[in-house]
């Protein structure tokens, strides 16, 4: 291996989360540069193929796709990287596809033995064909209130609403379908919101200290995520010994069950009885100044730069 790894970070893209991706990309680029890597950051476009394999000139040793949202997390860009024979940081296309769609991810997680809130996945056509009020009534009967409505595919809490009153349901559904074709309607689990990040630099997945999230207005929505100061984070999370172990265990279980590689972040709820509920797992966790993954790295007594470099080296060596 060359002494100075060359890394191409892909950031931007055309998803609703482009802005976050650009911020993640620039943050990881700084950390990798500080730890001695040669880094370029670029968007995805028609010239990407040329950049990956410029003739007569060595391409990057490794690509780190930091594209959030569709194409970044649905496996498509990773399929493209595999077609071009590029090594890359992060999970393969199939694992991404399983994790990206929340309705599929729930089944995978449940089969792996994780506790998953009861939920249904509904394309908007169902409401049109069966009558919205009938379906909404059935949803409230099954899940009670509050309940959670979220796009089946998407991140950064975009299009997510916690519905407390029947009168808010229709608007929440319309808002959700503005982001995507399928909505997941889920039972609300009251408890402590926790994220556990997992890294694997070649010797097996390791759970980093979990982050506990306390949003000022109780909802860890977009504003609470990306405006420093609107949310209080505890890292490590204030959990009992048993819950702490179960949270870490859930992160690793999810990482394995989905066949994830190098890094992941699972979002969980620890309910009042200390039971851990799996909400989703992210194959391209946010890496911005306010994101959860870097906070976990900091709390594990590591610097992000060296850890990111180890992930890059694991990708170059085909490990992890």
């Amino acid at each position: 291996m060359r002494d100075v790894p060359s890394v191409l970070i892909l950031a931007g893209g055309l998803s609703h989360e482009r802005e976050i991706s650009l911020r993640s990309g620039s943050r990881v680029a700084c950390a990798l540069t500080d730890s001695g890597c040669r880094v370029r950051v670029r968007d995805i476009d028609a010239e990407l193929w040329d950049v990956l394999g410029e003739p007569g000139e060595p391409g990057p040793q490794v690509v780190w796709p930091l594209l959030h949202g569709s194409s970044g997390e649905d496996g498509a860009i990773r399929d493209v990287l595999e077609l071009g024979g590029s090594r890359y940081v992060g999970s393969g296309p199939e694992a991404c596809r399983l994790a990206w769609d929340k309705s599929i991810a729930k089944s995978v997680a449940r089969r792996a033995g994780l506790r998953v809130p009861d939920a249904v996945a509904l394309p908007h056509g169902v409401f049109r064909e069966l009558g919205a009020q009938t379906v909404l009534t059935a949803l409230v009967r099954r899940f009670g209130l509050p309940l959670v409505i979220k796009p089946a595919r998407g991140g950064s809490a975009l299009g997510v609403t916690v519905v407390h009153r029947v009168g808010e349901l229709s608007r929440a559904m319309v808002s959700c379908y503005s982001y995507g074709e399928v909505a997941v309607v889920e039972r609300w689990v009251e408890g402590v919101e926790v994220a556990v990040s997992v890294v694997d630099t070649g010797s097996g997945p390791v759970a980093l200290p979990p982050v506990e999230i306390v949003a000022d207005d109780g909802i860890y929505g977009y504003d609470a995520r990306y405006n420093a100061g609107m949310t209080e984070f505890f890292c490590p999370a204030r959990l009992t010994r048993d819950s702490g172990a179960e949270v870490a265990s859930a992160g690793i279980t999810a990482h394995r069950a989905f066949g994830l590689r190098h890094l992941s972040r699972s979002d969980l709820i620890v309910d009042r009885r200390g039971a851990v509920w799996f909400l989703e797992v992210n194959v391209a966790p946010g890496m911005t100044e306010t994101s959860l993954f870097p906070q976990s790295v900091d709390a594990s007594d590591q610097d992000t730069g060296p850890l990111y470099r180890r992930l890059v080296e694991a990708a170059i060596q085909g490990a992890g």
């Binding site: 931007g12 609703h16 009558g131 759970a207 100061g229 949310t231 204030r238 959990l239 870490a248």
Partner: protein, 459 residues
């Protein structure tokens, strides 16, 4: 309930606990931290004003507008492709080569006297007659707006503004903790009777109104122009109530139908601060705007400007001055006007053909069409759908200081070609149709769809 024991649990070695006392061999709960982290150690130290400065999901969605796949009807960027860039380049080269020690040096706070005289020439079609000494050159007219607000507004003071109003002005007012009170406008601009009523009510309520903020020509975002009849009425009402008028006029010279109407400033030089800009008639990159103000206000503005930035950029001012001296700037404005007229026409034609269910304003100049969606549609909630369909606009709610404007959106026709505008409107039409369908589905009283049956999903 799923059985968590069905899968093999990770070993202790796989779990790296936190640093607050617990190590891998000690699986005790870490000691509770009294306070968590807010990721910004200075979060408690920010001023109340800074609390207004936040990012939002809507703001983030605009990030895609810069991608070539997206037809952006969102931004207000002028199209500089019609500028004679080679000639401008020669002018700038000569400026540095021949007068570089002045152009690259600090300058006077109030700005270069030569440029101030030239600005008077530029304002002549607006029938503004004034002494160049009353002009303060600023870093774009946006800075003039900031300085005006800084010298007049204390937290809680009222600024009266049109409904809707320029989003950049609302941002300034918010950052100085002004209380913005909106006054309706219609196709002839600000409604004088409503202004009278509002100012009377505010006075009765004991509120302190510091100024009226208005964009009389080719309004951003509404696209309307204050009619000739209403201009003296607005000025008289403000004078009667002892309220200063801030006339923001970046688009005054970009009318499509004949010469501009007289500026409000020309009707009451003592009661109106006129803000102008070269951003739309030459270049926004040079960041040169100005305020023409009553003399005492001018003095305060200069002091406030010096306190903020010492002096405006000498280089930018001299660049603009050289451009005005050496080029046919009036002819250049004519080129801009005809380009924007074609784009306005393309927009209105595409809207008429493709979005008949909406209504919109017909601008006689400037950059913007203000569109009103069918009842029930929310332009802000619809924006993610638009981004998915690769078209961007600005939702109307951003142009109000209160919770209004959800049915509206702003279309900018200044930058895309007429063909791209048509494509953008075509995509927007699809977005509106899908959103309407969604709304119909979820409207109370809507039943299941019946194949072939009319009227399903009534609102």
């Amino acid at each position: 309930m799923p059985d968590p024991t069905r899968t093999s649990l990770p070993t202790i070695d796989e779990i790296s606990l936190g640093t607050s006392g617990a190590g891998p061999s000690d699986l005790q709960a870490p000691p509770a931290l009294a306070r968590g982290s807010r990721l910004d150690p200075w979060v408690e130290a920010y001023s109340d004003r800074a609390g207004q400065l936040t990012t939002s999901a809507i703001r983030a969605l605009f990030a895609v507008a810069s991608r070539p796949e997206v037809v952006s009807l969102a931004g207000g960027m002028p199209d500089l492709s019609v500028l004679p860039l080679d000639l401008v380049g020669q002018t700038l080269g000569r400026l540095v080569a021949e007068r570089g020690t002045t152009a690259l040096q600090y300058g006077p706070g109030q700005a270069d006297p030569v440029l101030r005289e030239q600005i008077l020439q530029v304002m002549r079609p607006l029938q503004v007659e004034a002494d160049a000494d009353r002009i303060v050159v600023t870093t774009g007219s946006q800075q003039a707006l900031d300085l005006i607000t800084r010298i007049f507004v204390d937290p809680g003071d009222v600024v009266v503004a049109e409904a809707p109003s320029y989003v950049g002005a609302l941002g300034v007012f918010r950052s100085f903790q002004a209380d913005v009170v909106h006054v309706p406008l219609d196709h002839d601009g600000l409604v004088p009777e409503e202004l009278e009523r509002t100012l009377t009510r505010l006075r009765a309520d004991g509120r302190t109104v510091k100024f009226l903020y208005t964009v009389p020509n080719h309004h951003n975002p509404a696209g309307v122009t204050l009619s000739a009849d209403r201009r003296p009425q607005v000025v008289d009402i403000a004078r009667k109530h002892g309220v200063l008028v801030v006339e923001d006029d970046p688009y005054g010279l970009l009318g499509f139908d004949g010469p501009p109407l007289p500026a409000l400033q020309s009707l009451d030089p003592a009661g109106v601060v006129h803000l102008g800009s070269f951003s739309k008639t030459f270049s926004p990159g040079v960041r040169v705007g100005w305020a023409l103000a009553p003399r005492a206000v001018r003095d305060k503005l200069v002091l406030a400007l010096e306190s903020a930035i010492l002096c405006p950029s000498s280089f930018s001012q001299m660049a603009v001055s050289a451009y005005l001296s050496e080029h046919d700037w009036a002819g250049q404005i004519d080129s801009f006007r005809s380009m924007y007229r074609r784009r306005r026409d393309a927009t209105l034609q595409a809207l008429a053909e493709l979005v008949p269910q909406a209504s919109w304003t017909c601008p006689a100049g400037g950059f913007y069409v203000w569109l009103t969606l069918p009842e029930g549609l929310d332009a802000q909630a619809m924006l993610p759908r638009a981004v998915t369909r690769r078209v961007a606009y600005v939702p109307g709610s951003g142009f109000y200081a209160d919770d209004r404007g959800h049915r509206h959106l702003r279309i900018s026709y200044c930058f895309p070609s007429p063909e791209r505008i048509r494509e953008g409107v075509r995509r927007l039409a699809g977005v509106i149709e899908s959103e309407q369908e969604m709304l119909d589905t979820f409207s109370p009283g809507s039943g299941p769809s019946r194949s072939g049956g009319p009227g399903s999903g009534g609102r």
